[in-house]
Amino acid sequence: MNIVTIPLKNMRRKPTKTLLLLLVFLLGVISIVALYQVSLVVGHSLEKKLTAFGANIVVKPSTETLSVSYGGFHMGDMLLDIKDLRESETTTAIRSIELNDRISVVAPKLVNMFKVGEVAIAAVGVRWEEELGIKSYWATDGAMPEGPEQILLGALAARKLGLETGDALTLKDRRFEISGVLYETGSDDDSVILMDLSTLQQLVAQPEAVSFVEVAALCAGCPIEDIVAQIQTNLPKTSVIALQHVVNQRMSSVRFVQKLALSISLVILVTASAMVGLSMLSAVNERKKDIGILRSLGYGKTRVFLIFCLEAGIIGLLAGAIGYLAGYGISLKALEYLSLTEVARPLFSVTQLAFCALVFPLITVLAALYPAWKGSSIEPSQALVSL
């Protein structure tokens, strides 16, 4: 028996009214939690889809350039100490950062120049599976290479070499079959030969060598800088660069989904809070007698204020806790319905539950501040008139 007994028993006396009020706020909480969870997963899946439009981090060997000039003649920049990266070492290091769940594609590449007849052309060795993960926009008139002996030509490269799908090409005495020519992409891929990474490594007798690694990271909810910093820590001797424009463009689509969910949640929350506040306000008058009795027994204004706030807080606490559980359940069902559960499942977290059980009472109390103030400012004499 303490001060909480008073609002608790009062709520129990009017179960229908209390339940109705609880239901309204509960609906608010449920929709907010469900919207939040669904938007997280949808954002995640959206980002995964957007990853197909390119990598957003590049890991390169660190280089120092030296401008060489002699007697006033500029002799070009000299790259000092370019060492290739070691493939397995580098990819493992990238995959093992703390935020590794954010890394979706790690695509290592080796670049080498060849002469085909009189034409100098670059060959790029790639891991097909990874590469297609970030270049799903690639389209070819033939087929994607299947074995180590099959290669892909960029549109410009094919024109320069005068070759087309089905033709053969010899590099360093090894015969390759052109499985397809890429339609123009407008990128560097247009002017190169694309082939299997291991094959190229053998061809140039540099097993394990990689020129650079492209990484596609999912960055909803975490800044790309963190991922870059973690990769840099694991690979201190490389230079890790974030391609900001790719990141920004990608994030803006994801943020739009989340902003939409947030604004809808806010509208619901404000409406539910207004309901709580209004219902409390209408109760102030009908509780004048109670207030008069309490005041005549030595309850100060703050006590009366507290009783009103407690009542609102209890509603918020119940709605927050039950709402989180129900909202979580509903978001699971909704994602199942949208068949998005394979992409990612909403996370059930005790911290979030505790957060809801703390924040929603705060909101209901906030909504009840004005009615509570009105109730507490009723003077005992005023309250007595109704006795």
Binding site: M1, N2, I3, V4, T5, I6, K9, N10, R12, R13, K289, D290, I293, L294, R295, S296, L297, G298, Y299, G300, K301, R303, P380, S381, L384, L387
Partner: protein
């Protein structure tokens, strides 16, 4: 113990202020039993409410045990209302959603600290004293008018109030029940409780040691 000097109180009515108390002085000594009588609308309830601090007077001086209550801070008044003064209204004195025992302990439920079992025992004793021990867990709605009055008296007892203010405590009761309540008040007065009671019944007024008659906001007797 409690003294009121030249108390003035007016209420706004149809635009103009109507004086209800026009310089009323009352002195109460420890152990007094005073009845306030007068016609309806003469200002009895208003005077009682001023004395019990529930209504602030417009003029005059109210002192309790040397402390000036007219200029006292809200907090000091709350303390006195909680521990020293008890008011029994004519009709409503109980919160309808708390049971009899909780209503008796209401003055002690104002904080997060739970009411001690010691106090609870005491409340049960007081309820027994007014003959309601078996109804401690009932809600006020299930009690008769006389029983509700007795719960309010039991509450005053638990607080060990110094002064009991009662506004027509028998007004809504039948003769039999009314006499029971009056008997109880006489008994408590015998134990040293100071009582101020507003009543319409000349027979009950005679039970008090003193009678104050008020007419149109002035004491005439």
């Amino acid at each position: 113990m409690l003294s009121a000097e030249h108390i003035e109180k007016s209420f706004p009515s149809e635009g103009a202020d109507v004086a209800v108390l026009k310089g009323v002085s009352v002195h109460l000594d420890e152990g007094d039993y005073v009845a306030i009588v007068g016609r309806s609308g003469s200002g009895k309830t208003t005077l009682l409410n001023v004395l019990s601090t529930l209504v602030r007077p417009d003029g005059g001086l109210l002192t309790y045990r040397g402390a000036n209550l007219t200029s006292a801070a809200e907090k000091q008044l709350n303390t006195i209302r909680k521990s020293d003064f008890s008011v029994i209204f004519q009709f409503h004195h109980l919160l309808p959603y708390l049971n009899v025992l909780e209503n008796t302990l209401l003055p002690f439920m104002g904080s997060f600290r739970p009411v001690s079992t010691e106090l609870e025992h005491r409340a049960l004793n007081c309820l027994e004293r007014v003959g309601l021990a078996d109804k401690a867990r009932r809600l006020p709605g299930n009690l008769s008018g006389g029983e509700q009055q007795r719960v309010a008296i039991a509450r005053a007892l638990v607080k060990s109030s110094k002064i009991l203010f009662a506004d027509e405590p028998t007004g809504s009761l039948d003769r039999n029940t009314g006499e029971q309540i009056m008997g109880l008040l006489a008994e408590l007065h015998g134990e040293g409780l100071t009582i101020v009671m507003v009543t319409h019944e000349p027979a009950y007024a005679k039970l008090a040691q003193r009678t104050i008659e008020i007419e149109d906001g002035v004491i005439v007797h």
